[in-house]
Amino acid sequence: MKRQGWSAQWIQQLVFTGPATAAFALIVALPFFMGMYYSFTDWNGVADTAKFVGIDNFITVFKDAGFRNSFIFTFKFTIVAVIISNLVGFLLALLLTQPVKSRNVLRTLFFMPNVIGGLLLGFIWQFIFIKGFAAIGEKTGWSLFNLPWLGDEPTAFWGVIIVTVWSTAGYLMVIYISALINVPRELIEAASIDGATSWQRLRHITVPLIMPAVTISLFLALSWSFKAFDVILSLTKGGPYNSTQSVALNIYLEAFQNNRYGLGTAKAFLFFLIVALLTTLQVWITKRREVQI
């Protein structure tokens, strides 16, 4: 390549990487570091000055029963949602990689809930839990549908799970389908000639070969569930009795409703540490189980 002057190089560097880097620095990096600082202050969001209070906020956060409960809910919700949505997504993928005629249409249909944003999904389901389930209950007499779905703590938990699985399973299905298609047919056929049952073929051939897709799907489901906000805000508002308040919602309310910004940033900082740690750990663990042909 032609040698260019030192200043031409710098102008190019600036033109090519400048705009994205500037936006990133302003919108992500600066607030991130400011948040770390503010989490050690009593900032109220309005005043220009914030007093440094050391680790007081973190002590308060650890004593905060509401925050603890939101963590417990988020953990339980994440575990259940990740498992069920991945299982449903994987089973749908298994069904739709069979030579069924309607598979293209069905793939589209299963994916569709995912394109509707979380907020609107929550509102749609609010109506179904309140009015729709009651109508089905009346017609069928099944007591399952006559439960006070969003008004009772255990059922509200499962309500949030149902909506989450409904909207994310199709997305995970797409990832699993693309992995299943790439599993070599010869391997499966060879195994069945050797007398492997379909369960054995699935367990010992298909699943190990699609581990990269499992890594991605678990990662996506984990980070979606951990950051759950929109669906919960519109479906239950965190109720009944804050039983479905996710960590993300708790942080939002602490800052923008209680106006305790210092405390909110302390919670947000802890939240970041946990999300970063868990997702990294999950990717590291499942990556080790990936095999190459």
């Binding site: 560097q13 302003l26 729709g132």
Partner: protein, 277 residues
């Protein structure tokens, strides 16, 4: 071949799959059929089909939500953001791949590492930063935010794709006297088309549906995007299901149409994006 392999077992699978799909679609049935009923009929039996088609709900919700305005705002912010992200991020990723200086490698690592930061961890100070730079209450301000938040994943995806493009074409263009900018715009950028399609799809679904960031950035009613206007509309009319559901259907329709027209590309784009990510 496909038909000869169609056995009894496949038929069972087909029926099971169709039944599950119908179960999946029930929420859409409830949404659509009740949005066309009057209030009394919804209360009476929300599972029944509407007795008469009642478009009134739509007309009223359309006006109360100021739907065309919300649609236009969502449309403008989504289009301008996906164009900006594709342009700026592809340029950044290209430079990082072709000039892997220590500075560029560090910068790339920072962009990638930032992907694990949840939005809730930065939203509180972000409001203050946005205030300093007068980004609050303006669509261009919101656009700057999407440039910042979208940069990480978009650069990461372009970076992986550009690494697989051979250098020879670019070198011969340079020999022929093409400027570095010309090389990028005339030769590299057209080659990035498959990845650009993926990026446009992933970012448009995200930005169109995003609620929290616009909620924090836009206070004025006339700047509301579709999620924001649905949120305030639904809050006001929670108990008036006839209006609320018509509003919801209108909120959902644009993105569903977008998806159904482009579904092939969207599904393959999602696959490409997640395999890379």
């Amino acid at each position: 071949m496909e038909t000869s392999r169609y056995k009894a077992g496949t038929l069972v699978v087909e029926i099971v799959a169709v039944l599950i799909a119908l179960l999946f679609l029930i929420p859409f049935y409830f949404l659509l059929s009740n949005s066309l009923k009057n209030f009394a009929d919804i209360l009476l039996d929300s599972a029944a089909l509407p007795k008469a088609i009642n478009w009134q709900n739509y007309a009223r919700a359309w006006n109360i939500m100021d739907f065309p305005k919300a649609f236009l705002n969502s449309f403008l912010i989504t289009i301008s953001s996906i164009v900006g992200l594709a342009v700026f991020s592809s340029m950044t990723a290209y430079r990082m791949v072709r000039r892997p200086t220590r500075y560029n490698r560090t910068l790339f690592l920072i962009f990638v590492a930032a992907m694990v930061i949840p939005f809730q961890s930065i939203m509180i100070p972000l409001v203050k930063v946005a205030n300093w730079f007068s980004l609050i209450n303006s669509l261009p301000g919101l656009w700057v935010c999407y440039m910042g938040f979208g940069a990480s994943l978009t650069i990461f995806l372009y970076h992986g794709f550009i690494k697989s493009i051979p250098l020879e074409v670019e070198e011969s263009a340079v020999v022929d006297g093409c400027s570095p900018y010309g090389v990028f715009w005339r030769i590299v950028f057209p080659l990035l088309k498959p990845m650009t399609a993926t990026i446009v799809i992933l970012n448009s679904l995200w930005i169109w549906n995003d609620f929290l960031l616009p909620q924090l950035m836009l206070g004025k009613a006339e700047l509301r995007t579709i999620p924001l206007s649905t949120f305030s509309f639904f809050g006001q009319y929670t108990k008036q299901w006839d209006l609320a559901l018509a509003g919801l259907v209108m909120g959902v329709t644009p993105i569903v149409i977008f998806f159904l027209t482009l579904q092939r590309h969207i599904i393959s784009g999602i696959t490409a994006g997640s395999v890379k990510g």
